[in-house]
């Protein structure tokens, strides 16, 4: 029978894994091998995917994928030993084992690379060791690029490289290839293999590949506190001696074990570490025979130094690794001879072993691990834990979706309501600063730049800092707790109907923070088509940079229902993303079903420190942006709005004002009439000045394009300036909407200035309909140049970047046009 036939709570023993290609390879590497026990934990709300437990961790598979795995019920009368042959460490022949080459090392700089399964704690260790603030989250696929940090310890300088998490270093996903390429080409001095102590069996699979690769390794046995508190016993010293790799327990969250880890690295570097020895993983007689034959031919045919050890090349060829096959073709004098022998040996092996060579190699590696753990690890069975209880609620078929939408609504409501108070305080502060400069500085260009340009522009955006921080606190909590992976689990079937993959859900949710890392995190999606679609619809996920625009206008026109309007905007973005995904799938990317294999980590309570660090990081990045892009953009907008400074019209207005003053002195007009006439003249001067400025000319040029949407030239220019960063829309509005009416304490804020803004004919510039049209436009048109650059970088072509600009801007124009024009008929 198949794995999909098992009911919730039942256990099956794997007898065969069908299927082919990337899915089969991935599923084997994750431990779905012959003889392993698998338990069904629960089904997602739409009965798909299904959560399983294997090798002490939880993973989800789609129903269609679990149908490819054949199982039987366990025979409880037999002793519970796996069918896979465990490696017998007592009988290994040590004569093949060697000491690592003793090379004289010069210099006091050691390069170390962090390698390990996703979610094992590499980046947490990296942050602690190097003082970095790289992003961590309780789900796999957070780090998609390498990062470098530095550390000084015991007289040595360390360059620490944090690599993306991988289950293995085979050739199926971009990050696996990236890690392998890095280890081979960049040759770090030592590799720190971060192994999650809560999940030894699966984590050690990557260790076996590192042993084959022959790189110097130290294991950081991370989350060691969880192992200890579980009651299980693990003799890591003994395991270290067995596999020839030192093992240092660490606790990533607190930094415990880090000094010992780096002391060990120094000892390895200086060839003083007693545990280090080179061992060979034994793949069985038949396989070893084939490996030896290939070794001889590889040695005979090599033209120079090869990057890979010959034994590693032989094993990979027998595993049918396409990248290594290409490598052989390009780097050996007679590659056809080697490949022909490989093909012959594979045929012999598959006939004798009655299984394909990929499975045979994977089984042998897991056999090695099983044997090692048999001698060193005693697991304590534990009953249902908090993860299971929480999952029973949040992934419940009736409660799962409503709870998810409830969490989203709470997030947006809190962002607005809680953020309102500190927002008001910052606004008061900005207003006070503006007043101080206005009153204390003499009239002149610098004063205008400071008040109207810098404070008007930057001040308009900085008030939204509390809202941004609160939004990120919620996103960070969801990521760090492990809920994000559950959300992907329950949304997989929905994503599947959109033509996407459950793994697409995480980048899309990340897009609510910023679209750029969301686009980069699509690297974790194996299928190129799904990756492209996810990338191209990510701009519809309304990023935090758009929040200031939304908050500004909803506070003026929809104050009572601001949270609901915000939620509605985000939902609109999601709906447009769904529709776009379907269209892209239909017209540009043919149907390409990728397996959904995703690990579900246990829930972890984010510490107050980690949430606090995230909030501080976000604040710092936002403030850095204020001092960077926003400040520059505000100054540019001010310059464009200030020049050319035509004094002739100003002089004419001044003359007319003097005339009016004279009339008042002569009692020809009343005080009220005088003030009204002067106000009118001031308005004309400001209007003339604005329209004749460079920015006015640009605005007038694009006004015909935006007028049908209900926008005037100032709104048009503000939207255009948003190409640099969405917050610049607000800062541009702040610069352009100044001095249109009397400036007093009550009307000093940008909100008031916008609320009171009028067209030349005296009608209000911003009506509820115009605001809805504007908010829709901001939601839909492309976020910023950085996003276009990220799409170009990830897709490899400017074509898709340009496509995004044209598609999103056209869609924004059409929808805003329809809303405004149809709305005008009724309102």
């Amino acid at each position: 029978m198949n794995l999909s036939d098992l009911k919730t709570g039942e256990i099956g023993i794997i007898t065969k894994v069908n299927g082919s290609g990337a899915f089969r390879k991935r599923i084997l590497e994750m431990g779905f091998i012959k003889g392993k026990a698998v338990k069904v934990i629960l089904n997602a709300p739409l009965k798909d995917p299904i959560k399983y437990k294997i090798m002490d961790y939880e993973v989800s598979l789609r129903r269609s994928e679990s149908q490819l795995i054949e199982v039987t019920y366990p025979d409880y009368n037999k002793k519970n030993t796996p069918l896979a042959e465990a490696y017998d460490f007592d009988n290994i022949d040590d004569s093949d084992n060697q000491d690592l080459e003793k090379t004289v090392k010069d210099g006091k700089t050691i390069t170390v690379a962090l390698v390990g399964n996703p979610n094992a704690g590499k980046t947490t260790l990296f942050n602690l060791a190097s003082g970095g603030h790289e992003r961590v989250g309780n789900y796999g696929g957070v780090t998609v690029d390498s990062k470098e940090g530095k550390l000084k310890h015991a007289g040595y300088k360390f360059n620490i490289i944090d690599l993306p998490g991988t289950y293995s270093i085979s050739a199926y996903t971009p990050e696996e290839l990236y890690v392998r390429k890095y280890l081979i080409e960049d040759k770090p001095d030592i590799v720190i293999n971060v192994v999650a102590a809560s999940n030894l069996e699966r984590n050690l699979y990557l260790t076996t590949e590192l042993i084959d690769l022959g790189v110097p390794v130290v294991i950081a046995l991370n989350m060691y506190d969880e192992l200890v508190s579980s009651g299980s016993e693990f003799d890591h010293d003994k395991l270290a001696k067995l596999i020839g790799i030192p093992i240092i327990p660490t606790v990533g969250r607190s930094g415990k074990g880090l000094p010992e880890l780096f002391d060990t690295i120094i000892r390895i570097y200086e060839n003083k570490e007693p545990y280090v020895k080179k061992i060979k993983i034994y793949y069985g007689n038949a396989m070893e025979n084939a490996i030896s034959k290939l070794n001889i031919l590889i040695e005979k045919n090599r033209t120079g130094e090869t990057d890979y050890p010959p034994r590693y090349l032989s094993i990979k060829l027998l595993e049918k690794d396409k990248v290594i096959t290409e490598y052989i073709k390009q780097n050996f004098s007679n590659p056809n001879e080697i490949l022909a022998l490989c093909t012959k040996e594979i045929k012999i092996l598959e006939a004798s072993l009655q299984e394909d060579t990929e499975s045979a190699v994977t089984n042998a590696r897991y056999g090695f691990i099983t044997g090692a753990l048999k001698e060193t690890y005693k697991e304590k069975q534990h009953e249902s834990d908090s993860t299971r209880i929480i999952d029973a609620i949040v992934t419940n078929k009736y409660l799962g979706f409503p709870l998810f939408f409830l969490f989203m609504w709470i997030m947006f409501e809190c962002t607005f309501r809680l953020g309102q108070y500190p927002m008001d305080w910052i606004e008061t502060g900005v207003g006070a600063l503006s007043d101080f400069i206005r009153n204390s500085m003499p009239e002149g260009m610098l004063k205008d730049l400071l008040v109207d340009g810098i404070i008007g522009g930057v001040g308009g955006v900085i008030v939204f800092l509390p809202n941004i921080v609160i939004l990120y606190a919620f996103i960070s909590f969801m990521e760090d707790s492990g809920y994000m992976a559950r959300a992907a689990f329950i949304m997989d079937k929905v994503m599947h109907r959109m033509g996407l993959h459950g793994k697409s859900f995480i980048p899309l949710v990340m897009g609510f923070g910023c679209n750029v890392p969301a686009i980069m995190s699509t690297r974790t999606i194996e299928s190129r088509n799904n990756r492209m679609i996810t990338m191209l619809i990510t701009p519809f996920m309304s990023c935090s940079a758009r929040l200031p625009v939304y908050l500004l206008f909803t506070a003026i026109f929809f104050k009572e229902h601001a949270g609901l309007v915000l939620f509605g905007l985000y939902v609109t973005g999601i709906v447009l993303a769904v529709i776009s995904a379907r269209l892209l799938k239909r017209f540009f990317f043919s149907r390409d079903d990728t397996p959904f294999v995703m690990e579900l980590p246990p829930y972890r309570m984010p510490t107050a420190k980690s949430v606090g660090v995230h909030m501080w990081d976000k604040s710092r990045q936002y403030l850095r942006k204020m001092g960077g892009v926003i400040l520059i953009a505000s100054i540019i907008i001010w310059f464009l709005g200030y020049f050319p400074n035509d004094r002739k019209f100003d002089d004419k207005i001044e003359e007319q004002i003097s005339l009016i003053e004279k009339k008042f002195d002569n009692k020809e007009i009343t005080k009220e009439e005088k003030e009204a006439q002067i106000t009118n003249l001031e308005r004309q001067r400001n209007l003339e000045h604005a329209e004749n400025s460079y920015i006015g000319q640009i605005g007038k040029f694009i006004e015909p394009a935006v007028k049908p949407l209900g926008f005037d030239w100032k709104i048009g220019v503000s939207l255009a300036s948003g190409m640099a960063a969405k917050e610049v829309v607000v800062s541009t509005l702040g610069v352009l909407y100044t001095g249109q009416q009397d400036q007093d304490e009550e009307s000093d804020s940008l909100r008031d200035r916008l609320a009171n803004a009028t067209n030349p004919d005296g009608s209000p510039t911003f009506t509820p309909l115009v605001v809805i049209s504007l908010l829709l436009f901001v939601l839909i048109y492309f976020p910023c140049i950085a996003v276009i650059a990220a799409i170009k970088g990830e897709s490899g072509s400017w074509k898709w970047g340009l496509f995004t600009i044209v598609y999103t801007t056209s869609l924004a124009w059409i929808l805003s046009f329809l809303v405004y024009q149809i709305g005008s008929l009724f309102i």
Binding site: Q621, R624, E727
Partner: protein, 50 residues
Amino acid sequence: MIQEIIVAIIGFIVLGIIIRKMYFFFFRKEESENVCGCTDCYYNSVKKVK
């Protein structure tokens, strides 16, 4: 007069920053700090030596 001179200096500094950014964007492949310039650039390493 002094105010105009200061504003002119600020203008030239801003122009220089823009030219530099555009040069790096189009002609140089290596990463510069704050590559994306967005609020939330996760792809900067904080290089610290302890």
